[in-house]
């Protein structure tokens, strides 16, 4: 997993609430057995017409936001299914950070496994960031995970909170499985004790 330290990039404004994982990556693209290559299908049914041509109004199709690395989104981003194809598609497109007032639980978890930083901000801050994102390619937003701040193109800085363990893993690009494997003796001990207390498992 790639480390996440600071990111300066274009932010795409997506004020729609309840952007669900079916919108992020529709079911027909879940048939892959790989993690990569999903970026071209990100937001497929919003981004492309049935004949494959681009929907010109869609934000990521507009010249100013084609190279976005950040999304500023409406409430409850990533609701719906557990498909990790959603963060895989975002990452493959080049999105490393999503900012919203709230995220669905499983999507939020999945982001951290893929080096994507989801940031929860209060509604009034999301509003300011949304306005900044609307400026497009001439404006760059900066996300600083070390110092836990988001800074707009005109220098307004907003702090955010993040679980210290998640921050540590993201800053260092750490693999969860490797970390847990180090606790193997505790897992062994738990299983030994479970064989006594809950033998039916």
């Amino acid at each position: 997993m790639d480390k996440f330290t600071t990111l300066t990039g274009i932010a795409a404004p997506m004020p729609l609430v309840n952007i669900d994982t079916d919108m992020i990556i529709p079911k027909q693209f879940l048939k892959t057995i790989h993690r990569s290559g999903l970026g071209k299908n990100l937001f497929d049914e919003m981004r492309f017409n049935p004949d494959g041509t681009e929907v010109p109004d869609f934000v990521l199709n507009q010249p100013a936001w084609r190279d976005s690395q950040i999304i500023v989104a409406g409430d409850n981003f990533g609701c719906g299914s557990s498909r990790e194809h959603a963060p895989w598609a975002l990452l493959d497109f080049g999105i490393r950070c999503v900012i919203s007032t709230s995220f669905a639980d499983i999507f939020y978890n999945n982001c951290f496994k893929n080096g994507i930083l989801p940031i929860v901000m209060p509604p009034e801050v999301v509003e300011v960031l949304m306005e900044d994102a609307r400026k497009g390619a001439n404006a760059r937003m900066t996300v600083d995970l070390e110092n836990l701040t988001v800074t707009t193109s005109d220098g307004q800085s907003f702090p955010f909170e993040l679980d210290p363990f998640r921050r540590h893993c993201l800053l260092n690009g750490l693999d969860d499985i490797g970390l847990t494997m180090e606790k193997a003796p505790s897992i062994d001990a738990y299983e030994t004790q479970m064989a006594q207390s809950r033998p039916w498992v």
């Binding site: 048939k31 409850n76 990790e84 639980d105 999945n110 363990f165 970390l179 897992i187 498992v201």
Partner: protein, 478 residues
């Protein structure tokens, strides 16, 4: 909050199950939680097995891992000849390879016990009270009906569980959803769960584990309880659960993988301690009177877009903030005009099935409405049992005959139309009365329009040719 409960302090059911599975706890409350049952299907697992292989890791507990293909499998009889779609075929073949290579408990596509993973788990007795159950699928919440802590995970976490039989977790907050009193005739578990989401919103449960309780919940069968918990995720909750009781024990007893003899007795005596203590702390409480719940349908493209069938299609201006634009978009997608009575909305298709409502009692309920009746002209209908065993049972009871006489197609088990990853899909613009769980844009096929409702409401809509109040049909038959 560190999630650590003081010894002796009153605890919720969730607290008790969580505490019983903690392998390791860091000072900041991050825990390694032991996983008792890991369910695996073909869509969210191939990359996880690939990751294991690349790292040279094994499946730690193949005996606690259960694999079944469900999302991609066709529901027509010709599936014995294989899956036509090449990508779907590869995914199912990958699961087959992985299940055999790693020695998992496995129900292949043409095994009579195959079905939707969340129906197979309970049916085979894998899901038991007090367990932790995970699957790379958000509707894992279903298993909470047994008083198990069950939730969906992403593929990286699937790999984590395969390798370590644990998950890294922080404790969620506790939310109590109480449904008091009795339900009125024609009102079902599906109406309860939709009504709760209608009240709390799709993000209302974010950060919480919900415990459903109250007389109306206690009165539900195990299958009804599974319907309620299944959609906890649609309310944003990590999991939904219901304290086990005699109904739970009766349901589990004698199932292939339920404990037997002395182990059964020991299990039941522990299961009987699994309830929320008097005085336990709740971070949020929602109470709904059972008698206030009407048969409901969804009108939009979010499961929170719920209204009683007696209502009318709302206008974007009825909402506030970001929901105004979302409602406008939903109405446009759904092809609905504000002010239209919901019971005048014409439908093209009926889908009865899914992990929400694909169990035998759901099929019995729908068949009870359809007996001696027929789908309205121009309406197509599909019944997809949740497992091969549900299908067999229904055929023994003659339900298949009722459905086919009514003009429905009687299918093999699978996820089917609930998410169009297999040949069962809606055409663009086609409108469906569905017993499934998500009305998202494109969920049942690009451009397809989904109205969520209970099996009896879907059956009644099929007969009428438009959304309708099942209570009127029930009144006629009395």
């Amino acid at each position: 909050m560190t999630g650590k409960t003081n010894a002796g302090a009153p605890r919720t059911l969730y607290d008790k199950i969580f505490d019983a599975h903690v392998v390791d706890r860091q000072e900041d409350g991050t825990c390694i939680l032991y996983i008792d049952r890991h369910l695996v299907h073909e869509v969210t697992s191939p990359q996880a097995f690939e990751g294991l292989r690349m790292a040279g890791r094994k499946v730690r507990r193949p005996d606690q891992t259960i694999a079944v293909p469900d999302h991609n499998v066709p529901t027509t009889a010709d599936r014995v000849d294989g899956i036509e779609n090449p990508e779907g075929r590869i995914q199912v073949a990958e699961l087959d390879k992985n299940a055999r290579e790693f020695g998992l408990n496995y129900y292949p596509m043409n095994d009579i016990r195959q079905g939707i993973v969340h129906i197979v788990g309970p049916e085979q007795g894998w899901t038991l009270p007090g367990m932790t159950v995970v699957c790379g699928d958000s509707h894992t919440a279903t298993h909470g009906a047994f008083g198990a802590l069950a939730h969906g995970i992403g593929t990286s976490e699937v790999e984590h569980v395969l390798a370590t039989q644990t998950l890294i977790q922080k404790k969620s907050k506790n939310m109590k959803v109480e449904i008091t009193g009795k339900l009125r005739p024609g009102v079902t578990a599906k109406d309860i769960t939709l009504a709760v989401i209608g009240k709390t919103g799709t993000a209302g449960g974010t950060g919480y584990v919900i415990e459903y309780c109250g007389e109306a919940i206690r009165d539900l069968s195990m299958e009804g309880r599974m319907t309620v918990c299944n959609m906890a995720i649609e309310g944003g909750a990590r999991a939904g659960l219901i304290a086990p009781d005699e109904k739970t024990f009766d349901y589990c007893k004698g199932r292939p993988h339920a404990p037997k003899g002395a182990a059964w007795e020991a299990a039941v005596s522990w299961w009987k301690t699994l309830f929320s203590d008097e005085g336990a702390h709740w971070d949020k409480i929602v109470t709904i009177r059972g008698e206030d719940i009407a048969p409901v349908v969804t009108w939009g493209t979010s499961p929170e877009d719920v209204l009683p069938i007696t209502g009318t299609v709302p206008a974007p201006e009825d909402f506030e903030g970001g929901k105004v634009e979302a409602a406008r978009r939903s109405l446009d997608y759904m092809g609905l005009k504000p002010g239209t009575p919901l019971n005048e909305v014409r439908i093209d298709a009926v889908f009865i099935g899914s992990c929400t409502n694909g169990r035998i009692e759901d099929l019995r309920a729908a068949a009870g409405i359809l007996k001696g009746k027929h789908l309205a002209p121009g309406v197509r209908g599909m019944v997809v049992p949740g497992s091969g065993l549900v299908r067999l049972q229904a055929e023994e009871e003659g339900l298949d005959k009722i459905f086919t006489d009514a003009g429905f197609e009687w299918r093999l088990a699978g996820c089917s139309m609930c998410l169009g990853m297999n040949p069962d899909q809606l055409a663009p613009g086609e409108r469906c009365a569905a017993t499934s769980n998500r009305n998202f844009e494109g969920r049942m096929g690009r451009g397809g329009r989904t109205h969520l409702m209970s099996p009896v409401m879907a059956a009644a809509a099929g007969i009428a040719g438009h959304l309708t109040d099942v209570r009127e049909l029930l009144a006629e038959t009395v």
